[in-house]
């Protein structure tokens, strides 16, 4: 292989690298740019030739979108935060035990929890619907928060265990030498050190509660605490698009989509280590 040949390969590789990167970045950004512009168009502008910059920009879509979604956004927020808090309460102790304690059945227990991630959750929603109906949890916010723990707990255990494992082994022992009990060593020393991981897991759990459609739609009815996501489905739901005010719908997608995206991008740095397999 001559030197010239080699460079040609190198140049092609470099070009295709940047080609792939640009293509994928644009594939994500262009649709978002479009819906952003559409959300400022008045209803009359959707017919006729497509254009990016609205002729007569208006805020009507945003104000009416916000007005329509206000209650649902509050529900979504309550459900997301509740899911995050409950998930942390039940998974922090468990993850700590799996990271630091030696006990009989540890490996088996850990895999039983992790494998729960592979379970097709859609199979659970139907029995849970019936069960919640009997228990009076159907169509309530606590019912939703409880149900989301199935999605969140395995992931949270996985990430938090890895996080606890990276902390130096002898700090609890040192704390105990200075008079801490097992429990107070955990609360005063380990928890503050693990704060970044805990925050990241909390964000992820919040996202689950906020983004989900399946449970949100099946475990609530129109009269109950419907979160924001199912409202979007109610508006078109695969039906014909002629009668839809697309500008408002697109403003609503942005209103619903912004909080989880911002949270995820903030939490991303903490999560990178967790994804190393």
């Amino acid at each position: 292989m001559s030197l010239a040949d080699y460079d040609a390969v190198g140049v092609t590789l470099k070009a295709s690298t940047y080609g792939v990167v640009w293509f994928l970045v644009l594939l994500n950004l262009v649709p978002l740019l479009f819906i952003f512009s559409v959300s400022f168009m008045p209803p009359t502008e959707f017919f006729g030739a497509p254009h990016i910059i609205p002729y007569e920009p208006t805020l009507e879509a945003w104000t009416s979108g916000f007005a329509e979604l206000k209650d649902n956004l509050i529900n979504s927020f309550l459900i997301g935060s509740g899911t995050a808090l409950l998930a942390l309460a039940i998974t922090i102790p468990g993850a700590y035990a799996f990271a630091r304690k030696e006990f009989y059945g540890k490996k088996l227990g850990f895999y039983a929890i992790i494998l729960a991630m592979m379970f097709p959750y859609i199979l659970l929603v139907i029995p849970i619907m019936g069960l919640w109906n009997d228990l009076g949890l159907y169509n309530t916010i606590p019912g939703m928060i409880l149900a989301y723990q199935v999605f969140v707990a395995p992931f949270a255990i996985w990430i938090l265990r890895d996080f606890f494992e990276t902390l130096p082994k002898d700090i609890e022992e040192a704390a105990q030498v200075y008079g801490c009990t097992q429990f107070s060593a955990f609360v005063r020393v380990i928890l503050p050190l693990a704060a970044p991981g805990i925050v990241a897991v909390g964000f992820l759990a919040f996202l689950t509660g906020w983004n989900d459609f399946l449970f949100a739609n099946l475990l609530t009815t129109g009269t109950g605490p419907v979160p924001a996501v199912p409202v979007l489905y109610g508006t078109i739901g695969g039906g014909s698009g002629e009668r839809v005010y697309w500008g408002k719908l697109m403003a609503e997608t942005l209103i619903i989509g912004t909080p989880p995206t911002v949270l995820y991008l903030v939490a991303r740095n903490y999560l990178e280590s967790a994804f190393t397999v």
Partner: protein
């Protein structure tokens, strides 16, 4: 004989008691999460299988039908359509892998703006799937949407395509949107694993005169094996149960042409309140995903076994 067994039994209980008294704190710590998973997963799952053997209207009184629901499904033409759609739909996992692999390899090469690039890659994944489904429902709307609008304006297409009224084109749109939405998950796992390959391995490969293709096949790919395996198995299952985008784009139609099994399950429970049949569909779906994952792991081991050694 009997004294021996009782003796063994006593020894055994003593051992359990020892284990418990030594580790009670650890067991106490994992108790909440185990309790939740049993209550929320295993009990509903077992109850669901029980439901699938009944005629079970939502909120009404169930009656035992044995395997009747399953018999009904397998003799019902739309169910076969749904199975076919599910098989085609499962290709999305492979597309996602292809895009994610290309993206991860490309991102590793770029020097500046890496964080910005990965950040924008993740946008499609962080938005709620129903939201991205809604966005594409607009972008691809045949009469008003910008994509067909521009294609006809620039005369690349003579007239717009009503993709929603044909099974094949509707499935193609769903495949595209699902792939667009979920590939970043595999990208995250693969690129994390790519970053962790030690640089020395590449230096050694260069020293022995390996070219780029050889380096990729002999160093990079084997190191990524377990990451790809994990990402693929998780995604196969998760993709099979995604319903929100299909519902938003086609509502499972025309007819049942895009009703993948998960959507069929949803239609039975939500539109018709037939919980028994709905769960029977779920059991078929579960069997299928487990089958997929097993076949896939076996093939993967076989295909990469030679190279890795």
């Amino acid at each position: 004989m009997s004294s021996q067994t009782s003796h063994a039994l006593i020894r055994k209980t003593e051992r359990y008691r020892d284990v418990l008294s030594e580790n009670w704190f650890a067991y106490l710590l994992i108790l909440p999460v185990l309790l939740f998973l049993v209550l929320l997963m295993w009990i509903p799952f077992v109850q669901g299988i029980f439901m699938s053997l009944h005629n079970w209207p939502f909120g009404g009184d169930p009656s035992w039908v044995g395997l009747g629901n399953y018999e009904y499904l397998f003799g019902w033409q739309p169910f076969v359509t749904s199975l076919k759609a599910t098989l085609i739909f499962s290709l999305t996992t492979l597309f996602q892998l292809g895009v994610a692999l290309a993206a991860a390899l490309a991102v590793r090469e770029i020097r500046r703006g890496k964080s910005l690039v990965t950040g924008s890659f993740l946008l499609s994944y962080t938005l709620p799937p129903l939201v991205t489904g809604t966005i594409w429902a607009y972008m691809l709307e045949p009469d008003l949407g910008p994509i067909f609008g521009y294609l006809t304006q620039w005369e690349l297409l003579e007239e717009t395509i009503y993709w929603g009224s044909h099974g094949d084109s509707a499935l193609a749109v769903i495949l595209f949107v699902t792939t667009w939405t979920f590939w970043p998950f595999m990208f995250l796992i693969i690129s994390a694993s790519l970053e962790s390959i030690p640089e020395e391995m590449y230096e050694t490969a260069r020293m022995y005169g390996a070219n780029r293709v050889q380096t990729f096949l002999r160093v990079t790919l084997p190191q990524l094996k377990s990451a790809i395996l994990i990402a693929l198995s998780i995604r196969i299952i998760w993709n099979m149960t995604k319903i929100s985008q299909v519902l938003q784009l086609t509502n499972g139609g025309p007819g049942y042409e895009t009703s993948i099994l998960a959507v069929l399950l949803y239609r039975f429970s939500y539109e018709q309140g037939q919980m028994g049949i709905s769960y029977a569909v779920g059991v078929v779906l579960l069997t299928m995903t487990i089958g997929f994952v097993f076949v896939f792991i076996r093939e993967f081991e076989r295909a990469s076994g030679g190279d890795a050694a």
